[in-house]
Symmetry: C2
Subunit: 164 residues, 2 copies
Amino acid sequence: MLLGVDPSLRGTGYGIIRLANPHPATLAQGTIHCPTTWDRSRCLAKISHTLREVIREYRPAVCAIESLFYAQNLKTALIMGEARGAALAAIAEEGLEIFEIAPRKVKLAVVGYGAAQKIAVAKMVQRMLGLVNLPEPDAADALALALAFAQEQGRPALSAPKKI
Amino acid sequence: MLLGVDPSLRGTGYGIIRLANPHPATLAQGTIHCPTTWDRSRCLAKISHTLREVIREYRPAVCAIESLFYAQNLKTALIMGEARGAALAAIAEEGLEIFEIAPRKVKLAVVGYGAAQKIAVAKMVQRMLGLVNLPEPDAADALALALAFAQEQGRPALSAPKKI
């Protein structure tokens, strides 16, 4: 079982898949919404708490997350970093191995095009997982991470996901 | 009781003080050391875990942390942000109220000079708390945050610490 997670302060996406035929099974997926009226620390606590609950329910062994990415400026980078830290601390405390994949590689693996748009990713994720409904954008990104990680596993390790 | 915390990936300082006469009492202080050989996620888990343990032992109600600060570049900002996020999530989950204070104001409050050097801060912290030994630099910064927050509490709220 694989957890994909796409952390951000106001909308952290997550998804848990299990490899199966004819397509991987989606065990859980969702977005941790935090209203803009909430204090930052309250959002971080909710991110940490929700991911811990999901992990304890399904017990995935591995987590895939985007590698350190571009941010518009230092303040944005710090705030994005805080959301990642809240997520990663909870995931690591639950004993999962965590791997980073570059955003470009995720899109390449799922859509076949490294600069694919968000909606294209969501649609391909829906098709690859046989989901009835289009997943929310943040949850779709998290599921795409899990799918991309699963694909990478079967390949030569020239540019393997990096354990962090 | 007040918790001061100065998060960083490899050396997070913390300190818990209680206001008392002739000087505040130091209940706990230390540095969460994480060797450079450790994966980032292992450090984040240790930061989160250690702070939770310390909080559960002493039950402070309030936490003081530096406000979003300068970072050299985006990558540094993301990594600093991750350490902050791991710390803040654990502290907020334990129910503490968290306040940010600008680094300059901490130095001003403790040393009387906004651009004071680290060693000057540690020496003043040692004197103000009546400590036998000079605290480690990261722990000293955390104790300085708690002391500065305690001082701000008694003042007009022109530039009060910001709840986050």
